[in-house]
Amino acid sequence: MLQVKNVTKKYGNFYAVRNINFEVNDGEIVGFLGRNGAGKTTTMNMITGFIDPTEGEIIVNGYNVETKPRKVKKEIGYMPEGTPLYYDLTVKEFITYMAELKLIPKKDRKAAIEKVIESTGLKIVENSLTRNLSRGYKQRVSLAGAIVGDPKILILDEPTVGLDPKQVIEIRELIKSFGKNHTVFISSHILSEIRQICDKVIIIDKGEIISVDTPENLENKTTDTNVLKIVVDDLNNKFTSLKDEIPEIKEIKFVKENEEDKTKEYIVEATSNKDIRKDIFSSCAKNNVTILEMKKHEASLEEAFIKIVEDRPEYSKKEIEKIQYEKELDELREEEKYKKEEKENRKQAKKEEKARKKAEKEAKEEKKEEKEEIKEETKEETQEEDFPISCGPATKEEAKEEMKEEKKKEKKKKESENKGGEK
């Protein structure tokens, strides 16, 4: 049994797969449908242990893929997309290598390889290099590599891509035969193939599971019950007048006229879910119109798939709220981060400025000190030269005070002279 529980795979901010849940029971053949880039291969890669999920867990026959990868991988046979093969090996060498990689005991290996070569119809080409094989054979070799050792679960990623119709049928038959005793999980673009092989269909879109059902139910769900396809022999063109006779008929659409027998095909749409087939039958009989074919218009799986995927609202209300909430949270986080960064930047800038100012101050002080030292030295030198015995002021301040006193004295002298003159 394969269980995928709340699995999410994120690459940066991009969700390749978002919170997916599904189960594949023992013996089931399950189809995995989705457009390109829907998340099919990512899901398969996570199930096979090629990549780890960001969140959630995958349980294969009771073992968690992340914690018991070896045991899980022993249970799984995987055929990756694009049939990767070792082109330098022959078919038999490739299958032998796969058997060795899968830890098949040596005593059982030869028989297992022979069995797989037989069952996949590769006996004729077993000694050919894989590079020289046709695409159909390459697919077979890849499938053989996946099923060698009889794994309980087979995972096939688009096994019939690029094959011609005959090859598609051959590969499909192979998968069908294998699916009789095993669990098969298969992704494909060819829906008719899924319709024919699978018991259950899982539809994935934009990384989310949007539908899990049987192919029949999917078709029924999307089939319009009030639409009929009718083929009539109507030489007098009276069929369209049925609209006036049966009020439940909403519209009669002419589809085509068969040139050989001149029969006409119509699509009749009723306004309600009332079965109008009896009314049409009796009205046609009255108007001499012969009904050759009348059946409910059934949607194919292709139509069902397109309808489900295209009709799907981008996101449900809850999802939108969740996304918005996550967005807001992200924005808040980013804002906080930005604020923090800004704070740190400011702090650092302040620190740097302080350090710069301090350095400048220190440099200035140093310069000043140097200048003063130089001045003092030069003064001392000149004083020593002129007056070997110091008789001048000891400091600058004393010198200034002396200067001031001299100036005062001179002023007083001038004033007294002026006063004398006036007198």
């Binding site: 780890d52 990767p84 090996l89």
Partner: protein, 226 residues
Amino acid sequence: MLAVLKKELKTYLVTPIGYIFIGVFLLIFSLFFYITIIMPRAVNFEYLFLNGATILTFVVPVITMKMFSEERKSGTEQLLLTSPRSIVSIVLGKFFAGAIIIAITEVFTLMYFFILKYFGHPSLQVAISTLAGFFLLSLAYLSLGMFVSSITENQIVAFVVTVGAFLAMWFLPDALPIFEVFSLIYKFQNFSIGIVSLSEIITFVSFILLFVLLTIIVLQRRKSGK
């Protein structure tokens, strides 16, 4: 590990890569044998390998370039990593397959020793230590080449980057003595004069282990999608 090793060896011997490696190696070795030994009439086996060490720079990337890059490009990496084999065993399998190809090549080089022995008396001790050093040097290059191959899916890129790394390790110490630690060729020179010191063996072994470990980490991180 054995399954991967066997398959890798088979691939080397089925495709031209293994033969190109052995052939080019021995061709250039023969030229060096003529230039460094026959022309000056010397009997020093180690001279051959001192010059021969430079060949590794261009020949080892031939076998390492496709180790992981090709698997990644062709998608066969999925087959390997979804098998029950551990990443460690896959990496070691590939590494030892490359090591065996190198060992086979070295066995061929013994013929030069026997030629010298026929004409003179080369030192057996020096020859053994030279071969051991040369093998360690080759394995160190092999591990670095394997690591480069694991980080790209383009074989040409893997080849060019590996050659570039080897050249940097060779010439950088001449320009900047700080990088002398990375110069494995200089460390090999001691082996070629018959001196086998523990520190040099440890340097080679730790270099090999480092890049084998880095390769494992690269594959592990790719799996977890980081």
